[in-house]
């Protein structure tokens, strides 16, 4: 009788220990997000397009390009900062206009190109390099695919857009949009 009581007591102790252990394990804090401790399966390969960025053509207004159609490359350029009177009056500059004007971005030596701060000429198809000079963090994020719209495949080819596809370079801030209709508030049944 005594030995069976002793055995049952030791069983109870073992069970209690096991139960406590399970309880503690269940309550244990989950320390790391699950994806940082993956199950060993490698992620599927992603197409590497970090070097070449495929972008759509720049969204020129009708008949505005090439600029040399109007701007004769042989004529001298008036580099004095002024309000334009003969053409481009429709352009309202709303982009750091206190310090910058047209020729801080548009090249004087080649009217069909833009230029960086150090004078390097940049095609309109690579205008993002110009934007990226001042907006470095946005440019870095854009290259990573985090700034701006992209469509395509999360594990494959993605299409980029030029900065100017969304932002008017002369007045980049987005204009407010008309929102889609609000949801119907719930109506109780009588």
């Amino acid at each position: 009788m005594t030995s069976s009581r002793k055995t049952s007591r030791s069983w109870s102790l073992q069970f209690a220990t096991l139960a406590t252990g399970i309880l503690l394990a269940a309550c244990a804090e989950q320390s790391r997000p699950s994806w940082l401790d993956p199950d060993g399966t490698p992620p599927p390969p992603v197409a590497d397009d970090t070097q070449k960025i495929e972008v759509p053509p720049p969204p020129f207004s009708d008949d505005i390009f090439p600029c040399t159609d109007c701007h004769d490359p042989d004529l001298p350029v008036n580099t004095k900062r002024r309000k334009l009177k003969l053409a481009h009056q429709d352009i309202v500059l709303h982009h750091d206009e206190q310090h910058r004007w047209c020729l801080d971005c548009h090249s004087v030596s080649n009217r069909d190109k833009l230029h960086l701060a150090n004078g390097t000429l940049v095609d309109f198809t690579e205008s993002y390099r110009l934007c990226g000079q001042c907006h470095g963090d946005k440019y870095r994020d854009w290259r990573a695919g985090v700034h701006g719209r992209r469509s395509g495949y999360w594990n494959g080819h993605k299409t980029y857009l030029l900065c100017v596809n969304c932002h008017n370079s002369h007045s980049p801030a987005f204009k407010p949009l008309e929102p889609k209709p609000m949801p119907k508030p719930p109506e109780p049944t009588k």
């Binding site: 508030p185 719930p186 109780p188 049944t189 009588k190």
Partner: protein, 430 residues
């Protein structure tokens, strides 16, 4: 006598008993049947159109049905209040009426099941809840626990009551070794069903009004202080219209125990109010919605104040021995506590828990006509089931309905049946 034949006689005899009754009895039964038909029609409409016939929406996804369910689980659990003194303390005066408590528990669980059935979006798929045939997500889901414990409690009570009544019918002494353990087990079972139901709410972190440890004790306290009230009223009715002898001491003792439970109920409510008001976090908004209203939305505020006033008044009436013992104030107290706890547990738990919703939106939920109709139908089913069971059980307990004997005639209102006293068979009373 062959048990099967006996059982058949029992069934036939029971049918005859329920079909014989006074004018009052039939008015009551027919009234309930009318409400049941109304409820059934309303439910069929809901089945055809969908739950859009209710006022429940995404923002308040549980409402009147689940509130009633919660209240009725409490009523079912409260039967234990009679079992504890009867069997644990061997207190004679209450023992004789324990069966009535268990019949109430059965009727309440039947209503609970019906309220869940009308609340789910796909009643045709409730078989998914059956283990092995469907897939019951036990032990992770609290609703899975509820399915098991509520059905288990129903079976337990049904077995106990059927065994005791059938033994009395056969004029055999029931085996103590069989039913005493079952009855003793029904005490933790009753506490268990209401605790599981409380945990169903308690475990939901998304709803801060429910996510409080106090919920299980509150549920139990409000169940114990309100459930027996119906039995007190019933026992007085039985005492008046049948030969049933129920001493005043039994009734007063139950009322006294209810008073203590009422105090605990009010104390726990007060604790909840203090915590929300003093801490003054954003979670206060649920309590404000209940008692003051938020941003012009106050559909349940009057009901909540009625609930508080009724609960306090009932407590006072039950606390003072003079009012507890006077039949008028006693019954008034019973009605008040039922109103108080019904409003608090039905409306005052589900609606404020879901309003404002998780994204801060306030949707003024109030039950629709269809919901009221379906709920009235279900309550009527429960009351009818209870009435019929009591109608059969009372003569059995009195020894008037046993194997080979049936009650000679119905009891007219107010008449005390002394004629059968001499002919009652000894040994059939438990």
């Amino acid at each position: 006598m062959n048990t099967v034949k006996l059982f058949w006689e029992f069934t036939a005899g029971s049918l005859r008993i329920v079909l014989k009754g006074s004018y009052l009895y039939w008015s009551w039964v027919i009234g309930l049947l009318v409400l049941i038909v109304i409820g059934a029609v309303a439910w069929i409409h809901q089945l055809q159109v969908g739950l859009i016939t209710t006022s429940m929406r995404d923002q308040v996804s549980w409402g009147f049905y689940i509130g009633n369910f919660t209240f009725l689980v409490g009523v079912a659990a409260a039967a234990v209040l009679l079992v504890i003194p009867a069997y644990v303390y061997q207190w004679k005066p209450i023992k004789e009426v324990v069966i009535l408590g268990e019949l109430l528990a059965i009727a309440a669980i039947v209503m609970c099941g019906l309220f869940v059935l009308v609340d789910v979006g796909r009643p045709d798929r409730v078989w998914h809840l059956i283990p092995y045939i469907g897939h019951l997500h036990f032990p992770s889901s609290l609703l899975a626990w509820d399915v098991i414990v509520l059905n288990g409690y129903l079976v337990l009570n049904f077995v106990i009551v059927t065994y005791l009544l059938f033994s009395a019918y056969r004029r055999r002494s029931p085996h103590k070794a069989f039913f005493i353990p079952l009855v003793l087990f029904s005490i933790p079972a009753a506490i268990g069903i209401h605790t599981v139901t409380a945990f169903l709410y308690n475990g939901i972190a998304a709803r801060p009004f429910w996510n409080a440890s106090i919920l299980a004790p509150r549920f139990l306290a409000s169940a114990f202080c309100s459930g027996p009230a119906l039995l007190l009223v019933l026992m007085q009715i039985l005492r008046r219209f049948t030969r049933f002898e129920i001493s005043d001491r039994a009734i007063w003792k139950i009322a006294e125990l209810m008073a203590y439970a009422m105090f605990i109920n009010l104390f726990l409510l007060g604790s909840e109010v203090f915590k929300d008001v003093y801490s003054n976090t954003e979670h206060l908004i649920h309590m404000r919605y209940m008692f003051i209203g938020v941003g012009g939305h106050s559909p349940i505020v009057p009901y909540m104040w009625v609930s508080v006033v009724c609960s306090i008044a009932a407590f006072v009436l039950f606390l003072i021995p003079r009012t507890r013992r006077h039949p008028v104030t006693l019954n008034l107290g019973c009605a008040l506590i039922w109103i108080g706890v019904y409003l608090e547990k039905g409306m005052g738990l589900v609606i404020p828990g879901l309003t404002p919703d998780t994204l801060g939106e306030i949707y003024e939920y109030f039950p629709s006509h269809n919901e009221f109709a379906v709920s009235a139908g279900i309550f009527s089913v429960g009351f009818l089931v209870f009435t019929l069971m009591v109608k059969v059980a009372t003569p059995i307990m009195l020894g008037e309905f046993t194997a080979g004997r049936e009650p000679a005639r119905t009891t007219a209102p107010g008449e005390v049946r002394l004629a059968n006293l001499q002919t009652s068979v000894s040994g059939s009373r438990e």
